[in-house]
């Protein structure tokens, strides 16, 4: 541990750091911009459109076309004063930035920065598991890896999502008289679950909570074949008959009166946290589905090993365990302890 800190100290002393954690977010002095700032800033580079990474009110935003589209869908067209689509490398001051797929949600990107201190890769949120709802993660060579650590504990070995979907379909078959309410975050997880269901041969209509409609429509327009989707609406005052149906909703909807229209639902929740029983039980989940859009522990440690950066910086999540792993593997690492990023976006 002492040696790792020493290496870091040396690198900071000999050269100005290419990125600095500030209250607004991760700041790049050479390019004068922030990455995924949590407060309004003059210039922002956005990795993906989840609300804790992509906020409204910046002066200018550089992001992938899909991320910009999704931000406009969520916040309105005037979410920023100026916008620029990241197509090919963009020069900003002394820094050259390029965007590479992260596999997390539609439009998600890792941001690679060519700086005087070397190549810096900011992963944003990412997964290396196949995700039919977006472009797959790509390895990008780097000297400094700036990674998320949402699931950075060695207990997180996320199982293959196909097995989790099989569990859901088995439950639908076992309880044909009950609706299956699947809690899934509106951007990314919902579409991933739908694509997994379709890949498993489930071609019945899938019903949607109103909060998912716009985002699913956008995915359809972008060529993500989500199949037959219908609104989970009922006439006022009546109980719905969703027997045997799969209904997707943001998890927060379970707490709303919206859920009262289903006579006797099976509550399911698609999330990487569902690996831990206490988490699933605490949320009143009857069928936990371990489906994650983040790297799990084996993927995360494999990424560090394969990219073999000179230093690993950790933005948010469970950095203690990852720092320990880096120390055990004689790798220089430091926590940035950025605040404002949730475990998972709501």
């Amino acid at each position: 541990m002492a040696r790792a800190v020493g290496v870091l100290f040396l690198s900071i002393m000999t050269q100005a750091p290419p990125l600095i954690p500030r209250p607004e977010g991760l700041y790049c002095p050479d390019g004068d911009f922030y990455i995924d700032p949590v407060r309004p800033v003059a210039r922002a580079l956005i990795t993906h459109a989840h609300a804790d990474h992509a906020r409204a009110g910046h002066g200018a935003v550089l992001a992938t076309r899909q991320t910009l589209d999704l931000m406009a869908l969520r916040y309105g067209a005037d979410f920023t004063q100026a916008r620029q689509v990241a197509e090919g490398p963009v020069q900003m001051g002394g820094v050259r930035a390029s965007f590479h797929p992260a596999g997390h949600v539609l439009g998600s990107a890792q941001i690679s920065l060519q700086t005087s201190a070397g190549r810096v890769l900011v992963t944003g949120d990412y997964t290396r598991s196949p995700n039919a709802a977006c472009a797959p993660w790509e390895p990008v060579a780097c000297d400094i890896l700036v990674t998320e650590a949402t699931f950075a504990l060695p207990v997180f070995h996320h199982p293959a999502p196909e097995g989790e979907i099989a569990k859901l379909l088995a439950s639908v078959a076992a309880f044909p008289e009950r609706a299956h309410l699947v809690g899934a975050y509106a951007l990314g997880k919902a579409q991933r679950v739908i694509m997994l269901l379709r890949a498993a041969g489930y071609d019945a209509p899938i019903y949607l909570h109103g909060a998912l409609q716009k985002l699913c429509d956008y995915h359809l327009a972008q060529g993500v074949a989500l199949g037959d989707l219908r609104p989970a609406t009922v006439e006022r005052g009546r109980k719905g008959d969703f027997a045997g149906a799969i209904v997707l909703a943001p998890p927060s909807a379970f707490a709303a009166t919206w859920a009262q229209r289903f006579p006797d639902p099976v509550i399911c929740f698609a999330s990487g946290w569902m690996m831990v029983r206490a988490r699933a039980r605490q949320r009143g989940v009857e069928l936990p589905l371990v489906i994650s859009d983040h790297v799990d522990w084996p993927q995360l440690t494999r990424t560090i090993t394969e990219l073999n950066p000179r230093e690993t910086w950790i933005t948010h999540g469970r950095e203690d365990a990852l720092l320990r792993w880096c120390a055990l593997n004689q790798r220089a690492a430091r926590p940035l302890r950025l605040v404002g990023y949730g475990d998972e976006p709501e």
């Binding site: 504990l153 060695p154 207990v155 997180f156 070995h157 199982p159 379970f254 707490a255 009166t257 919206w258 859920a259 009262q260 229209r261 289903f262 006579p263 006797d264 639902p265 509550i267 690996m275 831990v276 029983r277 206490a278 699933a280 039980r281 605490q282 949320r283 009143g284 989940v285 009857e286 069928l287 936990p288 469970r318 203690d320 365990a321 320990r324 792993w325 055990l328």
Partner: protein
């Protein structure tokens, strides 16, 4: 196979509904051969007597494979030792599926020094859910929300048997229960090999003044319903046992009473803590329950006693077919003759007319009385809850007016509603939580409470909402125990919301002192 058992545990853990748990269990028994299903049953009922695999042994096993700091961080997050090890174990899933019986035999027979290596090898062979099931099997305490009784009920459901009949023989059976499953599948009822076996207990049905009006008081006798634990005390051929009314052997926790069973027969009665003539509150009895060893100090401060209700067998003669009046006369004779300080009679009450009995019921002379029992003079001692013979007429419940503090969503049909409520009473100017209730209200009242919670949420903690402390509810409950685990120092028994007091402002809700006064133990 361990994989089928792991699947079962997985399902049970996330199934809140009793009927579904029973269906999962019955399905498992139907699809799993002997002896595996018997070992699974024993694991669920707590009858799998394996040498304890201790937490420290498991920590040692995992320390060989995983960095201690990474393990500590993970354990801190997961919160359950077996689950943490099951998830963090680096290799796994390479071996073929293995029979539960092989795992049980290995755990039972391995020399202690070899146990860590054997456990590590098994963990190497299993996947995460298999490892979890294996570790729960090894350490005991499955914590999947299935009581021993529910597991036996599932066997009864599976075989179309009567639960009482299973409980009658249960104590004489041993894992892996091949005879029991053969019986469930149409074979002969197993003969209990146990000495001093359990006999099925006779139970009563609830009644009230309206129902009693149709009955003639002269046909019945009445006695107090004591607030202890209904037990069966057996001494036959020198073997002594104390059984709960579901047939669980609780002898070990009550050596003092066991020593007083100087007779040859089977008595039915109430287990109490009694100091001289004074019966202690239920909470005192609770401190004696579930102990494997009872210290001399506790034996002296919390002496156990039996208050006899009935006599089933005496000196080899079976009295169960005789009318209650005859059994009672014999009971009075033998209790007087044995001269044991710890065994006394439950006195009979005058029962000339129901109104007089009602008056007694309403104002019992002892706080450790729950109401009255009414027994037909001619009734034989019958297994189970047979209507028309024995009735219980409970004292009116205790009530307090409390303020709603927190609400949590329910399950299944109630999953869209806030139906689990925490309520509090005033103490030194603040509201102190005193209990939780999730029934007692009508569907219409549930909707009103749900609406109130949604409109008055002030804070959220995961699935729990804190509400503005404005809604007063009447909480009815059957009794009160002292409890070190509750902030208020007391725990209610069977609390339910009996009325919504929209007529009462929160400031006029009851104070904690009023609740404590109901304890009836003077302090």
């Amino acid at each position: 196979m361990i994989s089928a058992f792991a699947d079962l545990l997985e399902r049970l853990a996330f199934t809140p509904r009793r009927s579904l748990k029973l269906a999962h269990l019955a399905g498992y028994f139907a699809s799993t051969p002997d002896p595996d299903r018997g070992y699974a049953l024993a694991a669920l009922t707590g009858d799998l007597a394996l040498r304890a695999v201790t937490p420290s042994l498991l920590r040692g096993v995992v320390a060989e494979r995983v960095d201690a700091e990474l393990f500590a961080l993970s354990y801190d997050f997961v919160g359950d030792l077996a689950e943490t090890i099951a998830l963090i174990w680096p290799e796994g899933g390479t071996a073929r599926d293995v029979a539960l019986s092989d795992l049980v035999a290995e755990l039972a027979q391995s020399p202690k020094a070899e146990l860590p290596a054997r456990i590590a090898a098994r963990l190497d062979g299993l996947g995460p859910s298999g490892r979890y099931a294996y570790l729960k099997l090894a350490t005991g305490g499955l914590r999947v929300g299935v009581s021993a009784r529910l597991a036996r009920q599932a066997v009864a459901d599976y075989g179309g048997l009567d639960l009482g009949a299973i409980e009658e023989v249960w104590h004489g059976l041993e894992p892996p229960y091949a005879g029991l499953f053969a019986w469930a599948e149409g074979g002969a009822k197993p003969v209990s090999a146990a000495r001093a076996p359990f006999r099925p207990v006779m139970l009563s049905t609830p009644t009230d003044a309206g129902a009693l009006a149709a009955l003639s008081p002269t046909d019945f006798v009445a006695e107090w319903k004591w607030d202890g634990i209904r037990v069966q005390a057996v001494c036959e051929g020198g073997t002594r046992r104390l059984y709960s009314r579901t047939g669980d052997d609780i002898s070990r926790a009550f050596p003092d009473l066991l020593a007083a069973l100087e007779f040859d027969g089977v008595l039915d009665g109430e287990l109490l803590v009694r100091r001289g003539a004074e019966v202690a509150p239920f909470g005192d009895l609770q401190t004696r329950l579930g102990r494997k060893q009872v210290g001399a100090k506790l034996l002296a401060s919390h002496p156990a006693a039996l208050r006899a209700y009935d006599l089933l067998i005496w000196q080899g003669q079976d009295w169960r077919g005789a009318p209650f009046a005859a059994r009672r006369a014999e009971l009075e004779r033998v209790v007087a003759a044995m001269g044991q300080e710890r065994i006394d009679l439950s006195p009979l009450l005058p029962c000339q007319d129901w109104a007089a009995l009602d008056a007694l019921r309403a104002a019992p002379p002892d706080p450790v009385i729950e109401g009255v029992m009414i027994k037909h003079r001619a009734s034989p001692y019958l297994a189970g809850r047979v209507k028309g013979h024995w009735f219980k007429w409970k004292r009116a419940p205790m009530v307090v007016d409390a303020v709603l503090l927190y609400a949590q969503r329910g399950h299944g049909k109630r999953s869209g509603y806030y139906s689990d409520f925490t309520f509090g009473l005033w103490h030194e100017g603040a509201l102190v939580p005193v209990g939780k209730a999730y029934f007692g209200f009508t569907d219409a009242e549930l909707k009103a409470l749900d609406r109130f919670v949604r409109d008055n949420t002030v804070e959220r903690f995961g699935p729990v909402r804190a509400v503005r402390p404005e809604k007063v509810v009447e909480v009815a409950f059957e009794g009160l125990n002292r409890s070190a685990r509750h902030k208020s120092g007391v725990a209610m028994r069977f609390p339910r919301i009996s009325r919504i007091r929209d007529d009462k402002p929160a400031a006029e809700a009851d104070h904690l002192a009023a609740l404590l006064a109901l304890l009836g133990d003077g302090g």
